[in-house]
């Protein structure tokens, strides 16, 4: 079976191509990228018209929480990968804070098996740095590597012990795995629930100072400088942290970083009226930080965009702000929010696609990120202009915790192909999961 994507604009950072082109897919792999109209498809070929649309290497979200095993009431690997393909993502890397924690080859294998059964997006498990995310003893990183992990991270349970972080960087480097760090010094964060500043004072909520993030970034960079390895900084959120990474990169350190769409779209003011949909960790920061994250993306200090997709049940958000769970879903809003950023800042579409695809593929060392001939045909087709309103019913995630509900968005993934197979086509509903309803 052969597939043609005709009449689109191919934006392929992997090959430095931004031009009108037709894409030919054979047996799940890219067979040709040719000037438009140069080949006529056979009658039985599947033809996807892409006039006015962008054809880009499949988007990769290197930071999601799929919640399975253990928290299937929030999300499953199936519902999460539905959300992924509907948002234009052909692959996601899922964090280890499941129950049981992904700190063993068995859990890694379970996740991969569930992903295979779901048959939607590719799923790359991220293993725990420490057993049970307890921050005390290294997990069996080698065993998990053999089972298929692509990175290690204690994400929401940042490694507080500098000595363990050092060993993790050293040990993981033996397997070529990046250590992904949620940078937060818990002794400074002290149970805070939002950014510390004018808004936390006004609302009477405990604040998380920026220093909690920046002190930890500084620590980990100092360790990295001494030990080597690959440090990847998750969801960078403060101007100071961006500057630390910028300087570290200038010194040649092997550090990479990601930013979440909410951190370049919203500020702490979104918490007004105790909006728990704006509660996340790291918290939404100030206008100055938002600008710094944008600048970091534009100048390449921040390598990629990752959503920190964090589904939570409605009951975990409809409660006192102090008690509400941290995080929002992100897979289905990343494309329009990133397009909005590009429109507002003049960011090139090539760099934007690189941040959503090529760079995360490089950081994780996974296939994808380019439309080279012979590569798996993981392809996203984006309508960069389509206006739409985010409605709860349209979300494919099992949870609906997002501050962007009812937002007027522009731009959307209209087709998602994984290994040449059509996984998402806007207007054609994905088959419903056999498992329960939302919330």
């Amino acid at each position: 079976m052969s597939v043609w994507i005709l009449g689109g604009t191919v934006i392929d950072p992997g090959n430095g191509l931004d031009a009108p082109a037709d894409v030919h897919i054979v047996h799940g792999r890219i067979a040709a990228v040719v000037p438009p109209g140069s080949v006529v498809p056979e009658p039985h070929d599947l033809v996807i018209p892409a006039g006015g649309l962008w054809v880009v290497p499949g988007l990769i979200d290197m930071h999601v929480h799929l919640r399975e095993p253990g928290f299937e009431y929030k999300e499953t690997i199936e519902t999460g990968t539905r959300a992924a393909v509907a948002g234009g993502f052909t692959a996601v890397a899922c964090m280890a804070n499941t129950m049981p924690v992904n700190d063993s080859g068995a859990v890694t294998q379970f996740i991969l098996e569930r992903a295979r059964l779901a048959g939607l997006a590719r799923v790359y498990p991220i293993g725990a740095v420490t057993k049970g995310l307890q921050g005390a003893e290294l997990a069996e990183i080698g065993e998990m590597r053999e089972a298929g992990i692509v990175a290690v991270s204690d994400d929401g349970h940042p490694v507080q012990d500098g000595g363990i972080m050092r060993r993790a960087l050293e040990y993981a480097s033996m397997f070529g795995l990046p250590v992904i760090a949620h940078e937060e010094d818990r002794t400074l964060a002290r149970g805070g629930v939002m950014n510390e500043g004018v808004w936390s004072f006004r609302l009477g909520l405990r604040g998380i100072p920026k220093a909690a993030e920046e002190a930890m970034v500084a620590r980990d960079l100092a360790i990295l400088e001494q030990t080597g390895g690959h440090l990847h900084i998750a969801h960078i959120s403060t101007a100071g942290a961006v500057e630390l990474v910028r300087r570290a990169k200038a010194r040649g350190l092997n550090v990479t970083a990601e930013a979440a769409p909410h951190h370049f779209t919203l500020t702490e003011a979104a918490v007004a009226e105790y909006n728990t949909q704006a509660k996340m960790n790291p918290p939404l920061r100030t206008e100055e930080d938002l600008r710094a994250v944008r600048e970091g993306l534009l100048d390449g200090t921040i390598d990629c965009i990752a959503t920190d997709h964090a589904p939570h049940h409605a009951d975990e958000k409809h409660c006192e702000f102090d008690l509400a769970s941290n995080g929002i879903i992100g897979l289905e809003t990343a494309v329009p929010l990133t397009l909005a950023l590009a429109r507002e800042t003049g960011w090139s579409r090539m760099a934007m696609v690189a941040a959503l695809s090529t760079n995360p593929a490089r950081i994780l060392g996974v296939p994808g990120g380019s439309l080279s001939v012979g590569a798996p045909a993981d392809i996203t087709i984006i309508d960069p202009e389509m206006p739409w309103i985010l409605a709860e019913e349209e979300l494919h995630s099992r949870s609906v915790n997002t501050p962007f509900l009812e937002w007027e968005l522009r731009g959307r993934a209209v087709v998602t192909l994984v290994g040449g197979e059509l996984k998402w086509r806007l207007g054609q509903p994905l088959a419903r999961a056999e498992v329960g309803d939302k919330r």
Partner: protein, 329 residues
Amino acid sequence: MEFSRRHLLGLEGMPKEEILFLLDTAASFKEISDRDIKKVPTLRGKTVVAAFFEPSTRTRVSFEIAAKRMSADFVTLSAPASSAAKGETLLDTARNLSAMQPDALVIRHPSAGAAHLLARHLDCAVINAGDGAHEHPTQALLDLLTIRERKPQFEGLVVAIVGDILHSRVARSNLHALRAVGAEVRLAGPRTLLPRECAAFAFATTDVREAVRGADVVMVLRIQRERQVGNYIPSIEEYARYFCLREEHLAEAKPDVLVMHPGPLNRGVEIASSVADGPYSVILDQVRNGIAVRMAVLYLLLTGAREAMAATREQLQGIPAGKQRRVGR
């Protein structure tokens, strides 16, 4: 004056006219408490439920007396002893109470924003009686009423608020209300309890003397022992050494300075006994005014009052418009 508010959640953003209207209404209610029979039928048939998720005696009693002097039925739910202990969520508790069709729910809760949460989900009026470190609007209203009885013009008044600014809902409500009515606010406390962001709202200093210099009013906040555990202060004793309001501080204030405290007092900790009991102290006036303010808040929220003040007085029968009783010593 229109009063179309459904809830009283906080004073931030409340316009001056509305604050003054609340104070006027409260002032007109004070007389009821001086009668032999301290009761008017105004809120007969209305039910007020007080849900207190934090220990409090005086605020609850004050609301209860206010409701009863207006003839409303008043029911108290002390939550730590009831559903919260059984693991019921705040929203479920509130929905259950709401199903019993009260007209108002008075809530005190340790989480900032708890009253906002209920207001979004319940049909009845929600009155915030203190939510975490956020606001305590009726406290600030009674403070303003007390100030206005002695110093009728807010414009240009200098009010120093001294103590644990970071954790104080009383400080926040007063800060917003006083600024709205045109007073100048100064904040003072130890650096650890006086976040830098305070400067966005008012002059802030760690020097009590500087805050009090030339002040018309000094509000002293209660310091809690937990602050020592949290390492905000090394000890209660050291706090007292630098921040206990003493007579020597008042020497720097206006000669007719008023000293206020929301209670309960920690004598010798944040306020010297000689100051608390001294001639400047209006602490007991605050308590008295608390009743009137809460009567006014219940009245305005429960009757959906849209009438002018004159009409308010008529309804109370026999309080001639314009004759306001001035309480003084």
